[in-house]
């Protein structure tokens, strides 16, 4: 048994909130660079250049890359040998409170979906915990903007819809989103499970680095096919037209019921943010 103080979690989460919002993950940065060099349409290439200049500007001016510093989605892989001294969830919320306050990040959370009063400190965090073997605690903060979140979709397809049905749904989601989610987009795709599970799969898929292929060759080639179809839509960076509509996508799957084929697409943008620390 290893003891981790709740205060340690708080300071780590606070640091991660700031880091995630000011420095793009290396894999997303590389994907943007690759897109810039391979984009055949001049206007689209200029736009991609501006998006990369923005990252530089953010770094230089200590500004968030995007003003929508998001809902703080916190993913925890908690070793089953770890004992947390103090209130675990409150420690995470406090980390968000400190990170968004001290980091001059935007407070975008309302306490109630219909009465809409801002909580003023970007809490609560959206916390997902998975218990894993070992005595470590891995914390990932993935701030999620809602311009792209609002373009996400879920469908309970029929088993007969099969691979084609899934592909059509994913491509249609990007087509319907058009310029709204700040393309080039990044997609998390969930397939299988249940109504609630498939959305969680899609969200979790956004954590996978874009240069890391699916471990299952069947889904790796499905990811490649989807990327190709999406990048033939012509939407392009910012929706101004071009090849680069999607920087990358990751599929996560789960066993499902004989009668169902749930599919969910969590849309993210060219500022797909995540930062991790292992305690």
């Amino acid at each position: 048994m290893r003891t981790i103080a709740a205060a340690e979690i708080t300071t780590a989460v606070a640091r991660l909130c700031v880091r995630a919002n000011t420095v793009l993950p290396e894999d997303v940065d590389r994907a943007l660079e690759w897109a810039y060099f391979t984009e055949p349409w001049p206007l689209a290439q200029e736009t991609l250049d501006l998006l990369r200049q923005n990252q530089f500007q953010a770094w230089n001016q200590k500004l968030p890359i995007c003003q929508d510093t998001g809902m703080a989605c916190v993913f925890v892989e908690l070793g089953q040998e770890v004992h947390i001294e103090g209130n675990f969830e409150e420690a995470i919320h406090e980390g968000v409170r400190q990170g968004y306050g001290e980091g001059f990040l935007r407070k975008s959370i309302v306490a109630d979906p219909l009465r809409r009063i801002n909580t003023e400190d970007n809490t609560p965090a959206s916390i997902t915990v998975r218990i894993v073997p070992g005595d470590r605690c891995a914390l990932t903060v993935a701030p999620k903007g809602f311009g792209s979140e609002n373009m996400s979709r879920l469908a309970m397809l029929k088993p007969a819809d099969g691979v084609e049905g899934v592909k059509n749904f994913v491509v249609e989601t990007v087509r319907l989103a058009g310029p709204n989610p700040c393309p080039p987009v990044v997609l998390g795709v969930g397939i299988g499970g249940s109504f609630d599970k498939v959305a969680a799969l899609a969200k979790h898929a956004l954590l996978r680095p874009l240069d890391e292929p699916n471990p299952d060759p069947f889904y790796e080639s499905l990811e490649d096919e989807l990327l190709e179809e999406i990048n033939a839509l012509g939407i392009g960076p910012q929706g101004f037209g071009g090849k680069t509509t999607c920087l990358g996508l990751a599929i996560e799957t789960a066993p499902t019921h004989v009668a169902g084929l749930p599919v969910a697409v969590n849309v993210s943008c060219h500022v797909t943010r995540r930062a991790t620390e292992v305690l």
Partner: protein, 186 residues
């Protein structure tokens, strides 16, 4: 083509603009998102004046991050404009001339743009640090309780924008991808 414009603008200033042109906008720009638009509608319903001179005005759909001490503004890229579709036609009919945001607009907004000779310009979505660099001055003019959604009066210099909806019925979100698919796709 690239145009330099200074607010407030007239219908004549905007007439030459075409979808896909770029604009370097200077002058005063007011910020407003959903919550501020809703309050503006309530003011109009009550027969009261808007909190800024509407004739020839530019509204930027943005909720910036808090400014650091000594800085003018935080990160300040556009939010999705479609959430303002319900409110924009009424403001355009009252004289608002420029909308700045990102993302698609509905048919009613497009008609109001054409009817009033107005424009809808895109700021770079997700490029909040870059967009912030053209802001010279910031002042909250009302509804401070809305936090990042409070109405701010910005003074901007050469803010780089792209014409999406022009006064002649053009829409870059339709013509841009179509032109690429026709001529650029390999």
């Amino acid at each position: 083509m690239q145009y330099k414009l200074t607010t407030p603008v007239t219908r004549e200033d905007l007439a030459p603009l075409k979808t896909g042109d770029t604009v370097l906008l200077s002058g005063v720009v007011y910020t407003a998102r959903d919550a501020a638009h809703k309050r503006m509608m309530e003011l109009l319903d009550a027969g009261k004046d808007l909190p800024f001179p509407v004739e020839g005005s530019a509204l930027y759909y943005v909720g910036p991050t808090p400014e650091r001490p000594g800085e003018v503004i935080g990160s300040a890229g556009p939010t999705t404009s479609g959430r303002m579709d319900a409110y924009s036609p009424r403001l355009l009919d009252l004289g608002q001339a420029v909308m700045i945001g990102k993302g698609a607009r509905n048919a009613a907004v497009k008609e109001a743009v054409a009817r009033n000779g107005a424009v809808y310009l895109a700021a770079l979505g997700g490029a909040g640090a870059l967009m912030a660099s053209s802001v010279r001055k910031l002042e909250i003019i009302c509804w401070e309780d809305l936090g990042c959604e409070a109405v701010r009066r910005l003074e901007v210099a050469d803010m780089p924008l792209t014409v999406i909806l022009d006064p002649h019925g053009g829409d870059l979100y339709e013509s841009g991808p179509a032109t690429y698919l026709e001529r650029g796709a390999t």
